[in-house]
């Protein structure tokens, strides 16, 4: 029995990765997460320039999850070289990037490749430069342009991380596939808001934020199931995974691997070890020898 899996060309010893934005800002923290049993770590989404993000409050707990509007704080691609050097020495690192347009995405992806990233993950949930609060990843044509530009700039696999805040996530997945993308990652956070009745106003400084944690799991599983029926490229599932049982939902919906974000708050870095043990127990009990035997079986 083995927990090995692959996302296209990328071979992973363990199927769980650290999701972008979770302990992925510094080299030492990424190295620690890999040592804790994660199969890979996705970096914080990195942009062209250093960014402080939105002022606090930018994060809050709700009953079944979290709502955050960090505002993509990051040290910028130039300085991130120092962090990547440390992280890459520890294991597979997926470089997440966000840009204002296709050219910027391509430039950033190229730098991640130079730094030794095993693959690049495009954060398509960042705001559309043209405004209206729309996310880049809601427009299939725009997504295609970005993926084509990045594919032309790097040799490492290109993963597109999809936003659930769109009419049809499957259409966006198809656009990624048509543009030559190597995998889709689903889902990013759901647009959300928390109001404080005591203070009579939204809690987050940005007013809106993104919902994550157990509250989004059923939405994520459904998105992966939909994508599995529409695209042929591998799918990485993310959203509300806290234990092996949650991870298995994503795998059986069609994910070749999964990512864990919010669960690191309560479970700590050890959450990966726990999930790995739980997967082995399940596979033992139900007679599976490999992750690949379970991928997408719920669609049959």
């Amino acid at each position: 029995m083995t927990l090995e899996t692959s996302v296209g060309r990328i071979e992973l010893e363990r199927p769980g990765m650290v999701a972008s934005g979770i302990m992925g800002e510094t080299g030492p923290s990424m190295a620690r997460m890999i040592a804790s049993g994660a199969g890979a770590v996705v970096t914080k989404s990195i942009g062209a320039e250093p960014k402080a993000g939105y002022p606090n409050p930018c994060f809050t707990e709700i009953k079944s999850g979290y709502v955050n509007a960090m505002g993509l704080p990051n040290p910028g691609i130039e300085l991130f070289a120092d962090e990547m050097r440390i992280a890459v020495a520890a294991g597979p690192v997926i470089g997440s990037v966000y840009g204002a347009d296709a050219d910027e995405f391509a430039m950033l992806a190229g730098r991640m490749e130079d730094y030794g990233a095993a693959a690049v993950e495009l954060n398509l949930s960042c705001p559309h430069a043209k405004g209206y609060g729309m996310e880049l990843g809601t427009d299939p044509e725009g997504v295609k342009q970005i993926v084509v530009a990045v594919k032309g700039a790097v040799d490492i696999p290109v993963w597109a991380k999809l936003t659930p805040n769109t009419r049809s996530i499957a259409d966006i997945g198809l656009a990624v596939q048509e543009a030559g993308g190597d995998a889709v990652v689903a889902i990013n956070t759901l647009k959300a808001m928390v109001i404080s009745p005591e203070m009579r106003k939204p809690v987050l400084s940005n007013k809106f934020g993104g919902l994550s944690g157990p509250a989004v799991r059923a939405v994520g599983v459904r998105a992966v199931y939909d994508l599995y029926t529409t695209v042929d490229i591998p799918i990485v599932g993310v959203g509300g995974v806290t234990d092996a049982h949650d991870a298995l939902q994503y795998i059986m919906a069609g994910a070749a691997a999964f990512q864990v974000g919010s669960a690191v708050a309560k479970g700590g870095p050890d959450v990966f070890d726990e999930i790995n043990k739980g997967l082995e127990r399940f596979m033992m009990d139900y007679g599976y020898k490999s992750i690949s035997e379970m991928i997408g079986v719920a669609n049959e």
């Binding site: 707990e61 979290y66 704080p73």
Partner: protein
Amino acid sequence: MSNYARITGITVEAYDTKTIEFQWDEKARPGQFAMAWVPGMEEIPMSLSKIGRIKSITVKNIGESTNRLHQLTIGDTLRLRGPYGSGYDLKKGVKYLVVGGGIGVASVLPVIKETGADTIIGARTDKDIILYDQAHRYASDIWISTDDGSRGFHGNAVELMREKCDENRYDCVIACGPEAMLYHLYKACEDLGLDCQMSLERHMKCGAGLCGCCMIDDQRVCKDGPVFNKEQLSGMTEFGVSKRDTCGRLVKFG
């Protein structure tokens, strides 16, 4: 989880420091902190200077957000997230020496209350000393150091600590204060073969161990800390040397 608490008491501790008291039913340990917020300020980390059913934060006014907290009055509502962090690991039969530097006394006050340990309060001048009366009530013995000699020992808290460790036998130093003080205190503990636990500060956003912005080396100050033991401190390359800014850039202490 987040909660809202009505302010029930405000005490002026010094010209720039106030204690804000409220009823908050969450269970808390010595050394834990909360993320505090009211509209018109950034949400910021504050140590709990009282941890029973009635809790408090002790705020030094150094900028916009702490200034906003100083404007609050009895009856106002405060939003609190937490309690967060590891807290001090207190054991029976261990002889502790508590050292609080400046506003750091707020974090160690619950330790003094729980253990009755000997205590050193360090401050720049006489008028910067805070929480002395409260600490005095619970500490077995208590000494003051001021940089300018306006009260107590003339010198810094680390020099006074070395003196007291000559006179008495301690097992472990518990401390919170400016990082330069903590760093030299840690060095003194190494010299003297004493164990120690120290509470550190880094810029915090989520406070819950997720975003990774409060890292010191590979440790999250909000979750793995803010209190670190001697073994953890000894492995840190950034302790006393550098910290991360709000963008995640490494900056050296000035």
